[in-house]
């Protein structure tokens, strides 16, 4: 069976229209997506679990609505995948970890409920770095996921499974989460659109926490229009999440222009200096992307983010500190894996956590515990928060000069499996260009910007807080003019075609 799309790039909006016009049924599309996911599981390992019964049952319900002429939601009948840290009532939710391997959530995440209320069909839960800690998806406790554009390479992380399955065009839409780049980096690696919304724009309720002050859910999609549709569905205040913000959600999808006249785009001097020292082909690709933006009518202005260089150090104090506390609940007492303590509850805690967590998770828990300890708290955690404020104000100053910022999403194209897994610092550096925005809590996305040695690379567009619309508009104009992703077919498909 072929994939769910007739053309080379299936989009959620195209599928939705096909269903609306009764050209295809939601059930047929869902079956095709499930079948495709299953047949690509071998080469990609994008999914931890597929949910065929649930998906088909819901697809039939959508078809019923279509037949009855009932109003349809924005994502009616569109197959989607969600990262396996979104709780789904009654289903396993592992967070890529042995410690939650047998955990079935008693409730659903707000974003998942919103997706389903809009008619989306969740076909499965995608692989990820354990507890969203990683940039390659190799830290999954179960198996690594591979890149559909080159299966010897990583899909990025931590939302690697979501990026891989959308990049492979199995589904047009997936949900990921981004703490320091976990949506944007894999989106760049897998040639898709990945949006990290403003912190507080999307509810975190039911999304298993890594670092609470940074985590944010967002769409990973085939194109910008899908990202806009999904963001419109999942954004908004949630009374269950005190950090979600009550700011009206604009109709993102209806405000997507094709040109950039009058738009001032900031180019970050510090980032350009950094990228100029690396891969020349990559630097040239980004130069070309800025030229394309200019050609569309944008005015390029140089801006400065003097403290962005401290982003990584700041992030690796704040995120581990929060995770050391967030992950304390996994002790074997109430749910998840338990290793017996021979009558001593503390031995049970210790053994459960020793067996249940992987190396990277342990590393960050230890780092964070240390950073919060008496005598170190002020020197590390408090100082990191101060630097975070400086980074935030850097962006404030920059946005006084421009409407959005365009900058690299990554410092290299997708790398080979195992290339960085023995060097945590090299892996941490993967998020160099994405972490400052996370610390500032502002929205940023990655959009396909071309290829280096046939490997996809993303351009990052950044906007001030709650100005996702502006960022999506620029990305849309750029996408329409360049069509980088639509121009090629992922390698895993041609390999598959050769094999069959």
């Amino acid at each position: 069976m072929s994939s769910i799309h007739a053309t080379s790039l299936p989009t959620g909006h195209a599928l939705r229209e096909a269903i609306r016009r009764r050209e295809r049924s939601a059930e047929e599309i869902t079956r095709a997506a499930l079948h495709d996911a299953e047949s690509l599981q071998g080469p990609l390992h994008a999914y931890i679990r597929l949910l065929p019964e649930r998906a088909l049952e819901r697809a039939r319900r959508i078809d019923g609505l279509v037949r009855a002429g009932e109003p349809l939601g924005t994502l009616a009948g569109v197959p989607v995948a969600v990262k396996d840290l979104f709780c789904l009532q009654g289903e396993f939710t592992t967070c890529g970890s042995r410690i939650l391997e047998n955990f079935r959530s008693p409730y659903s995440a707000t974003v998942v409920e919103k997706l389903e209320a809009a008619g989306a069909i969740i076909i499965g839960k995608t692989n990820m770095d354990e507890f969203a800690m990683g940039s390659s998806c190799e830290n999954s406790a179960f198996f690594p996921t591979r890149n559909p554009w080159d299966t010897t390479r990583v899909p990025g992380g931590s939302s690697g499974g979501s990026a891989s399955t959308v990049g492979a065009r199995t589904v047009p839409i997936a949900l990921g989460t981004d703490t320091g780049g976990s949506i944007r980096e894999p989106a760049s690696f897998c040639n898709i659109v990945g949006v990290k919304p403003t912190y507080g724009r999307v509810s975190r309720y039911g999304m298993i926490a890594f670092a609470s002050s940074l985590d944010q859910a967002g769409p990973m999609t085939a194109d910008v229009r899908d990202a806009a549709d999904v963001l419109e569905v999942i954004a908004g205040y949630d009374p269950m999440d005190s950090t979600s913000v009550d700011v009206a959600v604009p109709p993102y999808a209806s405000e997507l222009p094709d040109d950039l006249h009058g738009v001032r785009i900031g180019i970050v001097a510090e980032f350009e200096a950094s990228i100029a020292q690396g891969d020349a082909a990559l630097a040239a690709l980004y130069k070309q992307a800025y030229k394309d933006l200019e050609r569309l009518g944008a005015q390029l202005v140089e801006v400065h983010l003097p403290h962005a260089q401290y982003g990584l150090a700041t992030y690796y104090l704040i995120a581990p500190a929060e995770c050391s506390s967030n992950l304390a609940r996994y002790d074997g007492a109430r749910y998840g894996r338990r290793v017996d303590g021979d009558g001593d509850v503390y031995a049970m805690f210790d053994r459960t956590r020793a067996a249940g967590f992987g190396d990277e998770v342990k590393r960050r828990i230890i780092l964070g515990t240390y950073a919060l300890s008496t005598g170190y708290y002020d020197a590390y955690y408090v100082r990191a928060q101060k630097v975070r404020t400086l980074i935030k104000s850097d962006f404030d100053s920059a946005f006084a000069e421009c409407d959005v910022i365009a900058c690299p999403a990554v410092s290299c194209p997708p790398f080979e499996l195992g290339a960085k897994s023995q060097d945590p610092l090299a892996m941490y550096l993967m998020d160099y260009f994405t972490i400052p925005m996370s610390l500032a809590g502002i929205p940023a996305l990655s959009i396909p910007a071309g290829y280096v040695s046939d490997l996809p690379v993303g351009l990052q567009i950044v906007a001030p807080a709650f100005h996702e619309g502006r960022m999506l508009a620029v990305a849309h104009a750029y996408e329409q003019a360049t069509q980088h992703a639509a121009a090629r077919i992922p390698a895993v498909r041609s390999e598959g075609a050769r094999a069959s």
């Binding site: 840290l85 979104f86 709780c87 939710t93 967070c95 939650l100 955990f103 959530s105 008693p106 409730y107 995440a109 975190r204 309720y205 039911g206 999304m207 298993i208 926490a209 670092a211 609470s212 002050s213 009374p239 269950m240 999440d241 005190s242 950090t243 500190a321 929060e322 050391s324 506390s325 304390a328 609940r329 996994y330 002790d331 007492a333 109430r334 749910y335 009558g343 001593d344 509850v345 503390y346 805690f349 515990t369 919060l372 300890s373 008496t374 708290y377 955690y381």
Partner: protein
């Protein structure tokens, strides 16, 4: 630190109390679960208070209101900006292995608790946190048990911690402090303050130092005291233990000690949980709490008159003694009942006598309280009025009171039903007196011969012939009159 060894030094205690109060909100601190005592284990739980993956806390506005009102009642500074922090430590009754509490920016600071004696005990702070679940050990402790069951019903119940300065001088003063605090809390209706149900819990920090010195000694933190009485006993024990230790040249170590009520001793817990580094940091799941002036003003407006203010006013307004006023104002609804009676009958002194005397006895006799008895203030006021008017005798009044308290019947109805009305009409009583004089000439003679006792015999004869209904004061008066 140098510790005195001289045997003849006398030591004085320095006591500070940490009181935990469960707030009587409808729902828990950070989720919608019901907040009630005594439900079957693990029936009042949800993903949030069980610390399930992905759950988030949402602040209970009512709990904040209750804490702020407590702070206002105790003269504390209420912070318009405060925050919640995480206190990290592993314990199986804590679903998240951290407790959401307030560390360096509590909701209130300062303030004081006014004791009945007039002395004020300064407060350090009051902060808001969540309660833990309850471990139910198969044996005597977790270590000594084959298994431990955990009930999470209590996990997430709003808990207010009131921390005093170490200004309490004696165990008795500690008890007065607790009782004054309890009274204020129940007045403003923020807690059930039931120590036996754990809605009020008290830990004590106590040290001793040579009398007359000002350096603080090494303190012990005493826990597990389940009544005011046990607080007093535990503190007395600690004073003695620490004094003896210092007198015999021992060193006091800073430690946590548990009170054993049955044995009447404190003992060191020496658990490994003692060396905690709680690694406090601001809870990133919650935004800082800001309270606007209008809200604070409204809460202040809603505060009732406080017990000691009421006591002082009762003394001034109703002429009752300090002792009476103190008892009358212990409980807010009882105080309000008294005041309604006093206003309706116009005699505060009598209202107090009845409330503290016969009403109290009748309530006890019928195992009732003012809240469970059907009696209404107007009925008691009516009773007081008809006694004052001489309509019934003092003896009959006791009977009427008992019926009113037990059944809630109107006093007049009781009087009519039981024929308790007293004959106070001088003419009618005069006729009876005349009959008695005529029938008992020898008594008249002996009275006139100087035997004063004979009068009482004649009074008895009149009462007998009236079947107890004659107004005894009038009988006596008329007899004296007639006998010259």
């Amino acid at each position: 630190m140098q510790q005195a060894i001289e045997r003849n030094v006398s030591y004085q205690p320095v006591i500070g109390l940490e009181v935990h109060v469960e707030l009587a909100t409808q729902s828990k601190m950070f989720c919608g679960c019901r907040n009630v005592f005594g439900a079957p284990p693990n029936t009042l739980v949800c993903p949030v208070c069980l610390g399930m993956p992905g759950t988030l806390p949402v602040i209970n506005r009512r709990a904040v209101e209750f804490l702020c009102k407590t702070g206002m009642a105790l003269g504390c500074d209420v912070a318009p900006f405060s925050k919640f922090d995480r206190k990290n430590y592993f314990y199986p009754d804590m679903p998240k292995n951290y407790q959401i509490s307030q560390y360096d920016m509590p909701l209130t600071t300062g303030g004081s608790v006014r004791l009945a004696s007039g002395k004020r005990i300064a407060l350090n702070r009051i902060h808001l946190e969540e309660d833990t679940g309850k471990n139910i050990h198969a044996g005597t402790s977790m270590a000594a048990s084959e298994y431990t069951l955990i009930d999470y019903n209590r996990a997430g119940v709003p808990l207010m911690e009131i921390v005093s300065e170490p200004h309490i001088a004696t165990p008795e003063e500690a008890e007065q402090y607790l009782s004054a605090l309890k009274s204020v809390l129940s007045y403003i209706g923020v807690s059930d303050v039931k120590m036996h149900e754990g809605s009020l819990r008290c830990d004590a920090n106590i040290s001793v130092r040579p009398a007359g010195t000002s350096t603080l000694g090494v303190k012990a933190e005493v826990k597990n005291m389940n009544s005011f009485r046990s607080v007093v006993r535990a503190l007395r024990f600690e004073i003695e233990r620490q004094t003896e230790a210092l007198t015999s040249g021992e060193r006091i170590i800073q430690e946590t000690r548990n009170w054993d009520d049955a044995r009447g001793v404190t003992y060191s817990t020496r658990s490994k949980e003692q060396a905690h580094d709680y690694r406090y940091f601001p809870d990133p799941d919650l935004v800082p709490l800001t309270l606007d002036d209008a809200t604070l003003a409204q809460w202040r407006e809603e505060l009732p008159e406080l017990p000691l203010d009421k006591r002082d006013r009762f003394i001034a307004e109703y002429g009752v003694s300090e002792y009476e006023a103190g008892i009358l104002t212990e409980d807010r609804s009882a105080a309000e009942f008294f005041e309604a009676v006093a206003r309706a009958c116009g005699d505060g002194k009598q209202a107090a006598n009845w409330m503290l005397g016969d009403v109290r006895r009748s309530l006890e006799k019928h195992s009732l309280t003012l809240a469970t008895s059907p009696v209404r203030p107007a009925q008691l006021a009516e009773l007081i009025r008809i006694v004052a008017a001489g309509q019934i005798s003092g003896k009959a009044a006791k009977e009427v009171c008992d019926a009113v308290v037990a059944e809630g019947t109107d006093p007049q109805a009781v009087v009519a039903q039981r024929g308790l009305s007293q004959i106070s009409d001088t003419e009618a009583v005069g006729a009876m007196v005349d009959d008695a004089l005529a029938a008992n000439p020898e008594s008249v003679a002996s009275y006139k011969g100087g035997k004063a006792k004979a009068l009482e015999f004649l009074v008895g004869q009149v009462m007998k012939s009236s079947r107890g209904k004659a107004n005894i004061d009038i009988v006596r008066e008329l007899l004296r009159e007639r006998l010259g």
